[in-house]
Symmetry: C2
Subunit: 428 residues, 2 copies
Amino acid sequence: MSVITDFETHDVRFPTSLLLDGSDAMNPDPDYSAAYVRIGTDAGDGLEGHAFVFTIGRGNDVQVAAVQALAPYLLGRDAEELLADMGGVWRMLQHDSQLRWLGPEKGVMHMAIGAVVNALWDLKAKREGKPLWRLLAELSPEQLVDLVDFRYLSDALTREDALSILRAAEPGRAERIAQLEAEGYPAYTTGPGWLGYSDEKLERLCREAVAEGYTQVKLKVGASLEDDKRRLAIARAAVGPDIRIAVDANQRWDVADAIAWMRELAPFDIAWIEEPTSPDDVLGHAAIARGIAPMRVATGEHAANRVMFKQFLQAGALHVLQIDYTRVAGVNENVANLLLAAKFGVPVCPHAGGVGLCEAVQHLAMFDFVAVSGTMDGRMIEHVDNLHEHFATPVEMRGARYLAPRTPGAGTEMRAESIAQYEFRVYA
Amino acid sequence: MSVITDFETHDVRFPTSLLLDGSDAMNPDPDYSAAYVRIGTDAGDGLEGHAFVFTIGRGNDVQVAAVQALAPYLLGRDAEELLADMGGVWRMLQHDSQLRWLGPEKGVMHMAIGAVVNALWDLKAKREGKPLWRLLAELSPEQLVDLVDFRYLSDALTREDALSILRAAEPGRAERIAQLEAEGYPAYTTGPGWLGYSDEKLERLCREAVAEGYTQVKLKVGASLEDDKRRLAIARAAVGPDIRIAVDANQRWDVADAIAWMRELAPFDIAWIEEPTSPDDVLGHAAIARGIAPMRVATGEHAANRVMFKQFLQAGALHVLQIDYTRVAGVNENVANLLLAAKFGVPVCPHAGGVGLCEAVQHLAMFDFVAVSGTMDGRMIEHVDNLHEHFATPVEMRGARYLAPRTPGAGTEMRAESIAQYEFRVYA
């Protein structure tokens, strides 16, 4: 038996606003940040669980405070017991009636629970000597459904539904693991399309993306229709007719605006419109989807929880489901989200970028391929090429594909030197 | 000109779990708490703005941290300028792109913005020498719509729609103010129905409620169907056939459970079922509403923002809209919620109880009567008779009616002695 003896948080902020990396119609000057947690035990094996909530700057201290508030739930607890019942850990944190009031199941406290759950997943994967994707992909269907809280889902997805989906994907797991390890998983790139970039930089980055093998790029839109048309014309000319171009409005529009604006952009052959309006507006997304058909709608990086994803799917409000590694309550809730997508036959293309999101979410996409959807068709992980150097196991790309991680863990461990260098300090 | 010079927060917790006041199917042992903020200026007039976020215990420290994180947005600012443009204050806080990432517009950071906005409303009302309800009720339609952010609402409610609603209610404002000051506003009571109470206490409190003049009581349900039937039989026998009995499941059920359970309770003549399932589940509430018609569905105390209320109304998912004073981003967002309800012709029956929610939310119901809906038909404010003694201007009831407050302010100022006595301290 070992006991959880360390629970340490850090407020880590990178000054990305200086270069306008990550600039879009709603987020003109983000400072990519992490509300970071490190969990240690007295096992003497040197293994720790690391995870974080991704934020974009101010308020990261509040997010850290929320993570820190969960320390009493873990400190002094039997690590083996917790790691053997990750579904139980999730319910312990999520169903704490007093903490629940602060959401429920959304916002700062929900994301804090996600970070703590994910730190335990990182520790569990390291102890089992497997990358997270493989750890998950080798669990039985029964073990996987035990991770999921089906409360509020049963009108769309029951435990039995989930078992059926997972059992149907059991044949071929070994072959798909081998395929992943040989070929990796496809990516698309958002690198060229930040709003703050000049036309010249946009064109150059588009050409480079195609040269690297990308078959889809994504551009930020929504600040100016004329700018969007000009930039899409530049991008389409640069990539040619066979490369998909997705666009992302980052919640900029109301429903009617979204429909009108996207009809104007339709001639550029748009792969999907991402976050056209409020991430809470299921009915609005459904109206937009109807209004711009056959263009597709993608959303999810700001969907607060599985109940929101359930409704987006029920309402036909999205065609591409974008999970985020740190927005919801950890791996467990994302397993629910992957199962919901599979139930409705919708492809999952995870949100990434930010700080460490690529490193983390690749594990869930690969798990989905091996054990849930069983396919890569129409699936891609977002890729943005920055801040990877701060992680102990940065993503490895071969051309436009994520190589399957082989190092044990969830990919969420930041290098100690980076934490020390970018720890946020207020000088009073 | 005066400058905001003080921004002080307090973590105030009352040990209500000792008596099971406030116990329900999801919240067995709440400790009613306030993440409290006090804003002062150098005006030398002794006037301060006070407000809070209501929570139920653990995590109140995180909520306090979120409120405190907003201090830099106010300290050193020109108070007159801020108070003259409360719509601008709301947008400054809500549209801060970095803070927005922490919701967006939901959870801890959203409620923190609400507390700061509401503290300014308290200060503004004190400076103008009016109770908040009257301050709002005497604003012009143009001034009122300037408070509202119509982003994400325009498919259901435009600025022009809102102006029409408010202008239609302008005639008769003076008469309704006089009526309010003479008669007060109707209330219903949740006092008898907490799950933790014995059958004897339930029966006694039901009889007392009728004797006090209440025409509606509310019972918590959802933990045990047999218990609910027994308790409803006791309550119905105690109050007789003419008093309405509402029930509140506090999010306990999935959709099918809610429909089946409520069909079992239908013979007791249920005024409404409140929070049958997840407060995020618009489509679930709509399915429940269809499944139990003609019973009515009420919800809103946990609706994160105006975008959620918009959808509940669009989907026919609620028949009674329950605003909460501290769940959303302050008075401004609740003005939007009242306008949405008016647009859809749905009555607003505010959530109250907790700590200071009665003192605060009565102002919004009274404003609604004077200047928005123009009617009390089918409207009542929840009333729970506890913790009022901690407030500088506790609610005044005459029988089952809230008397219109006459003291300047928003009712949200807690007595200094209560703050000092119940300030939460961690002894390490």
